[in-house]
Amino acid sequence: MNSARVKEFYYLMKLGREFEIRAKEEYMKGNIAGFLHLDIGQEAVSVGSMKAFMKGDVFTHYREHVLAIARGMDPKLVMAELFGKREGVSKGKGGSMHLFEPKLSFYGGDAIVGGHLPIAVGCAYARKIQGENAGVFAIFGDGASNSGAFFESINIAAAWKLPIIFFLENNYYAIGTHISWVSPFVELYNKVKNYMPAVRINGMDVCEVYEEVMRAKNYIENGLGPYFIEAECYRYEGHSMSDSGQYRSKEELEIFKSKDPIENLRKKALKDGLVEESFFKEADRKAQMEVEEAVQFALRASEPEISELYEDLFCKECSNVVS
């Protein structure tokens, strides 16, 4: 890792963290509502993966703010979406769980657990026959790995040798359900290792995530078929704002906090002499500022009009008939 990379990773993770902390505050204030799933603790996964997988299509679940930002989505537009404003990426119609931006090939925010996986597989099929080798990146949780949609996707992607990276964020919990209660093993790459190359990595280390996704990317780009990565990680907050996360022990939380992806990257970079202390200070300040700007933007942004209720439902041709 060179210094520029480390700086980039650090800044994006910090930006993501600040974004989430602030989103939480704005939720408390009532500016954001509905289900809000924070990525705090898992920034290494979001940033490392998006920085490695720059070209192809990305399909995500509902815990996707930091993924979106790392992908290049303007935090202003993300925050505005969380605020339900017309300037939001999904015009305020989607909210936190549904951030879509085809310009970034970012099909984010599916809130049906596992539901985006068959879609990602279909996209990978299309890319293959279109001769585009960048392929697809699909991210999901440990909970999703028990769903029929997941297994069908693994089978099809492997049978047809599709260019897709399956990235499993194993944070051990699906809301309050520990993975060990509902899966015969906790190391989930075992589920698929007969189907495709499958590895388990430390998802708290942004460099490890980045490198493994790079490896996977090369693999799928070479037409070798799908690739599976399980990243061990942890969310510090509850599942969503309506969950306090009491089912977990303090000790467990502390263990993972001690592996904090942001803090550890900083320490390591300083120790290795890769980045000077002043950078981090400046980066922290800048991240806060960028989030502040996002919030200000979102606050000033406009409420949709009632007349927009029936917009965006159909293409023009169908709209003409339906209305």
Binding site: G95, I175, E303, P304
Partner: protein
């Protein structure tokens, strides 16, 4: 007693009475259920009877059917009605048909509970009402609980019926307070006249009963008439008797549902009325329902997409005026 407490009590008592009652679903156990309906049951009955499942709705219902065949009385929870689509093959192709296609040899004493409806800014994938789907399936019983009393009685009775029951709950009702009359011998299949009146029959279910009641107060004042309010309770079978009794008196009917209007459950109610009570009607039936769009996240748009007490009031008043009430 809160609505969710009433549900909890119904399950608790059923489990107490009959060891074959088990509950299963995502987070129903150690977590206590995402709307706290199963709170305390894991501690009381243990993990064999209070089962935390993986996120696999097809299996939640499929497993429950297998348990029912084996002689248990499973109560499955689907965390939100939207996810029940993943289980629909099991509910329709299996649970609803097994007794019939086995020539009566199989019984499926299964209850599937589902919270649904438009809550608060949960957006398109978490805000639906699929009563139109469930109420269209032969072999299913569909109950919809609008208040703690019905919730308690109907759920407990549902658990002991020997056929599959879809038990619909509304997410915004869980913390509603209401009295439960434990001595009542409630018939879960019967609609309830919530309020009597002479001039208009308002028919509703789930959360819209409450909203209709609010609207009715204003309408009665504004038009100087009285409205009768019927809470359907059972959506399949539909209690036409109670509806007919009321319409024969009022000559006018309004249906209020949160569901999208086109193809919504109200269509069936409206059709039954128009077929069977045509000559009683002095005005066209009015359907007040959700708009025909997926539910948007933005609060203003979200409210615009469903009936509210104010909109119900305005629509009924203008319809009444147009039709000479």
């Amino acid at each position: 007693m809160l609505y969710r407490e009433a549900l909890n009590k119904a399950i608790d008592e059923a489990m107490e009475i009959d060891k074959s009652v088990v509950i299963l679903g995502e987070d129903v156990g150690r977590y206590g259920g995402s709307y706290r309906v199963s709170e305390g049951l894991f501690a009381k009955y243990g993990k064999e009877r209070v089962i935390d499942t993986p996120i696999a709705e097809l299996s939640i219902v499929g497993n429950a059917i297998g348990m029912a065949i084996a002689g248990l009385r499973p109560v499955a929870e689907i965390m939100t009605v939207n996810f029940s689509l993943l289980a629909l093959d099991q509910i329709i192709n299996h649970a609803s048909k097994f007794r019939y296609m086995s020539g009566g040899k199989l019984a499926i004493p299964l209850t599937v509970r589902m919270p649904g409806g438009v809550s608060r800014q949960l957006a398109a994938q978490h805000s639906e009402s699929y009563e139109t789907i469930y109420a269209s399936i032969p072999g299913l019983i569909v109950f919809a609980a609008s208040n703690p009393n019905y919730a308690y009685h109907a759920l407990k009775k549902a658990i002991f019926l020997n056929d599959p029951v879809i038990f619909l709950e509304h997410e915004l009702l869980y913390n509603e307070e209401g009295e439960v009359d434990f001595n009542e011998d409630l018939d879960p299949f019967k609609a309830k006249v919530v309020k009597e009146g002479e001039d208009i029959t308002v028919i509703s279910y789930l959360k819209m009963v409450k909203d209709s009641l609010k609207a009715i107060e204003k309408i009665e004042k504004s038009l100087n008439i009285t409205c009768e309010l019927i809470d359907l309770n059972s959506l399949r079978p539909l209690d036409m008797q109670t509806i007919a009794n009321s319409i024969k008196k009022t000559k006018r009917a309004v249906i209020v549902e949160e569901d999208h209007k086109s193809g919504g459950y109200g269509a069936e109610v409206c059709a039954r009325i128009c077929e069977e009570l045509f000559y009683e009607l002095d005005a066209p039936v009015l359907r007040i329902a959700g708009e025909d769009v997926p539910i948007p996240y933005n609060r203003k748009l979200e409210l615009a997409s469903i009936p509210t007490p104010d909109k119900i009031t305005a629509k009924i008043i203008s319809w009444a005026k147009e039709n000479g009430v």
